[in-house]
């Protein structure tokens, strides 16, 4: 039997289902499974309905599945909402103190906690322990994970765990997988590590879901990583402060979602004009305006490509999972500095807040790449005219230099100009730089191809959507093409990837087909499109049905 299970744990906000979901994932992690956790929650602090769906598999997985093998309910609503998605042999395990249910296994988790003198949040420990016993996880593994994950009141938690474990009957035996145990990272954590590997100095943000996790992670690891992570009064301050820091030599990044990015756009243009390196993480959520703030979408692609007044090029890079996000966050920071340009790492809620198994060996793929620095060869001019359009960098505080950056059009030294020759000269310098950026993209692996590479039928998908699509292309024996760098567009690599393709289906999480519009600009015309715009990611099952119909 294929080792691939889905566990759903749900409850009200404040009941701790998300944390419990992570602990369950770590139990399976100890058994050698690969993990993907999808978190579904609402924009509220108490009440409502939150759930985590934990997919565990012997193979790497990047998507949830529709059917649930184990439904763990802290409250009644969880059963009501998800009962219909239970797989044929699925098991319901529920809080019998709150729920009267005929089907499944009731566990008196609240009573146990009360009897042992615990607090209500510890009911999660009881539910996890009951689940562990039911599926045959050894007690020592359960206790090892609990000890690692629970810092407060661990002795009491272990008491609760032991009592529940002893009093629950074992039903089945989940097999171990003979694989190396991998760290579990959210996309936001992977992005953070990528930036750290590329020598990030300063991260600045204003809280905005789903990017806030980056701020939390970096602030709490400042000492580990030897960086500064700060929160400022609004996104306008955030990006302008970051640009100031980069001008003075610090490798800086900011993170936000669509609405916050909208506020940053004026300064995006400043970064381009002043040629200041700045990495912007844009984690998309369901828009327009305040939209559905805790739900996902891929609807800021065209916005990030065109944001900012005036003519300028920026890198827009859209990785599809945690491992890609790690790599491209680091690479993007290096690219910012190599080309003295703003870059945007475009992810979404599904990447930022989902949890993935992460291959540690990938860490070596990113390191600090030294930018072009001034070596006292000639008098320092911030905007020295060069062949490839890139001017050597020096920073305030260095002896014998005056570094002048300017948001106005400027001469080589950085003094404001408006005469036609001087204006054109500097525009030409930047145009040469843009050409260098275009050439760089073709040297990188800007397009990934999966599945049957010789198939005449192909899906084009980007960002987090590759997760569910990857599973389906393998089943249907067709090709998946993923453009990762979208600006400058990797025309040559896309042409190569599309060679021999007769039927192309575009799949994305937005209402207007934004990637399709981009492809159209380069003469690529998908024959069909599958769009979804209800704030939820695609499920492999629904994609299989839709794609099969078209093929």
């Amino acid at each position: 039997m294929k080792k691939d299970y889905s566990i759903l744990i749900g409850g009200q906000a404040g009941q701790g289902s998300r944390r419990a979901g992570l602990i369950i994932a770590k139990l399976f992690n100890q058994l050698g499974y690969r993990i993907f956790i999808y978190d579904d929650y609402q924009s509220l602090i108490k009440g409502g309905h939150n759930f985590s769906k934990i997919r565990v598999s012997e193979k790497q997985v990047l998507s949830q599945r529709l059917k649930i093998d184990f439904l763990l309910a802290l409250d009644k609503k969880t059963i009501e909402k998800h009962k219909n998605d239970l797989a044929d042999n699925g098991i319901i395990i529920y809080n019998s103190d709150k729920i009267k249910e005929k089907q499944g296994i009731g566990v008196p988790i609240e009573t146990t906690v009360r009897e042992l003198g615990g607090i209500s949040i510890m009911a999660n420990t009881a539910l996890i322990s009951a689940f562990a016993k039911i599926i045959g996880v050894e007690r020592k593994i359960l206790e090892k994970v609990l000890k690692k994950e629970i810092k407060k009141g661990i002795d009491l938690n272990l008491k609760i765990a032991r009592k529940t474990y002893n009093e629950t009957k074992n039903l089945i035996k989940i097999d171990k997988v003979e694989k190396q145990i991998l760290p579990l990272l959210s996309g936001n954590e992977a992005i953070s590590l990528g930036m750290i590997k590329a020598d990030l100095d300063l991260y600045i943000a204003y809280p905005m879901t789903p990017a806030t996790g980056i701020l939390h992670y970096l602030v709490s690891h400042q000492k580990y990583f030897n960086i500064s992570a700060c929160q400022f009064e609004n996104e306008i301050s955030v990006i302008n402060t970051a640009i100031g820091g980069a001008f003075a030599g610090a490798r800086t990044a900011v993170g936000t979602s669509g609405g916050g990015f909208a506020l940053m756009v004026e300064a995006l243009s400043l970064a381009a004009q002043s040629e200041t390196p700045i990495l912007i993480i844009e984690s998309q959520r369901m828009s327009p305006a305040s939209g559905v703030p805790t739900c996902t979408a891929q609807s800021d692609l065209l916005f990030t490509l065109t944001a900012g007044h005036g003519d300028f090029l920026r890198f827009v890079i859209a990785p599809g999972d945690a491992e890609q996000s790690f790599f491209w966050a680091g690479k993007a920071l290096n690219l910012c500095w190599k080309y003295q340009t703003p870059s945007i790492l475009l992810v979404d809620k599904e990447i930022s807040e989902s949890t993935f198994s992460f291959n540690k060996n990938l860490l070596e793929n990113i390191k600090y790449e030294k930018p072009l620095l001034w070596h006292k060869e000639k008098e320092y001019k911030r905007y020295r005219i060069t062949k490839n359009g890139i001017s050597p960098l020096a920073f305030p505080g260095q002896k014998n230099i005056v570094s002048k950056a300017n948001s106005y059009e400027h001469d080589e030294f950085g003094i404001t100009v408006d005469d036609e020759k001087a204006v054109e000269k500097m525009q030409l310098k930047r145009l040469r730089k843009f050409q260098s950026m275009r050439e760089e993209v073709e040297k990188l692996k800007a397009v990934e191809v999966y599945g049957n590479k010789t198939s005449e039928k192909a899906i084009v998908a980007w960002g987090s959507t590759i997760g569910p699509v990857k599973e389906i292309v393998e089943e249907l024996n067709i090709k998946l093409i993923q453009p990762i760098i979208v600006e400058p567009f990797p025309e040559k690599q896309m042409k190569k990837a599309l060679k021999g393709v007769k039927k192309l289906i575009s799949v994305e999480l937005n209402a207007l087909g934004q990637m399709e519009k981009v492809l159209n600009c380069y003469g690529i015309k998908p024959n069909e499109r599958i769009l979804k715009y209800n704030g939820r990611p695609f499920l492999p099952e629904e994609l299989r049905e839709k794609i099969s119909k078209i093929l």
Partner: protein
């Protein structure tokens, strides 16, 4: 200023109107830099930051490290520069339009954080570079191109706002009193923390209140700079409205408080670059 032996001038043509108050501010600033240099401040550590407006052209006229930022945003650029390198002396040149209108949130929050930067606001009480519209400090009744019938808004007193925002150095200068202003700028740059100097600056083209200031401006006598109460009283002597009142210039308030940069950087150890070493250890938390 014709003599250029200070090395502080650039080849950029000065385009301020003849008689503009900004000339006095530029002169006072250059003198302040030379004076501070004599006391040991390396010139390469000075960074001037400006935004958009007549006064912000000053970055082009100074042969110093500079960042010419967006309208209303130079304070944010400056705080980033300081965070990146705490050895730098970062001085912001802004106008009333930039700091009291477009970017007032940054002014308030930088003061609250006590970012270790110096902010000089040339307050000519109108948007001059866009030909004379009203700003937050334009008097009620000010007739400009966007208020031909007279400004219907009442101005605020920026010093009151900055005091309530917890700035640790607050002063007012006057562009026609160059030496006095020079000393304020020196004190402001020397101050550890957020130093704020409002500079009254007549605008010869759109709001020439030179005579008005000449008749009313007086220099504050020595007083207890650390007294909030005294600062409040003196700041409220003139409210930017009442024409019968005298206008005090000088230092109103000056206290010691840890700077934002100290608080941020003390948590770290940026002098030693050991960034990569703990990454694998960090990953172990995720197993």
């Amino acid at each position: 200023m014709k003599k250029n032996n200070t090395g502080l001038n650039t080849y950029c043509e000065n385009t301020w109107c003849p008689g503009c108050g900004n000339f006095g501010i530029l002169q006072a600033f250059k003198q302040a830099i030379i004076s501070l240099e004599k006391k040991g401040m390396p010139r390469e550590n000075v960074v001037v930051v400006s935004g958009i407006g007549c006064n912000s052209k000053i970055t082009d006229y100074l042969n110093l490290n500079s960042f010419t930022s967006l309208h209303g945003r130079p304070i944010t650029s400056a705080q980033g520069i300081k965070l990146a390198n705490i050895n730098l002396k970062v001085i912001v040149f802004s106008g009333d339009g930039g700091s009291y209108n477009e970017g007032i949130s940054h002014l308030i929050h930088a003061a609250k954080r006590n970012n270790d930067i110096t902010v000089l606001v040339s307050d000519n009480r109108n948007f001059a570079l866009t030909t004379g519209q009203f700003t937050a400090t334009s008097p009620k009744g000010f007739k400009g191109v966007s208020s031909p019938e007279g400004n219907i808004e009442t101005p605020f007193n920026p010093l009151e706002i900055i005091l309530s925002s917890k700035a640790t150095f607050i002063a007012r200068g006057y562009s026609a009193k160059i030496e006095h202003l020079e000393n304020l700028i020196i004190e402001g740059i020397k101050h550890k923390g957020f130093s704020f100097i409002e500079i009254l600056q007549p605008c010869v083209s759109f709001f020439n209140n030179y005579q008005f200031y000449q008749e009313r401006v007086y220099e504050l006598k020595k007083h207890d700079f650390t007294s909030l109460k005294e600062a409040q009283e003196k700041i409220k002597e003139w409210d930017y409205i009442d024409e019968t009142k005298k206008i005090p210039i000088g230092i109103f308030y000056k206290i010691k408080k840890p700077t934002y940069e100290e608080a941020v950087l003390n948590r770290l150890n940026l002098s030693k670059k050991e960034k990569q070493v703990n990454l694998k250890k960090a990953l172990n938390d995720h197993l």
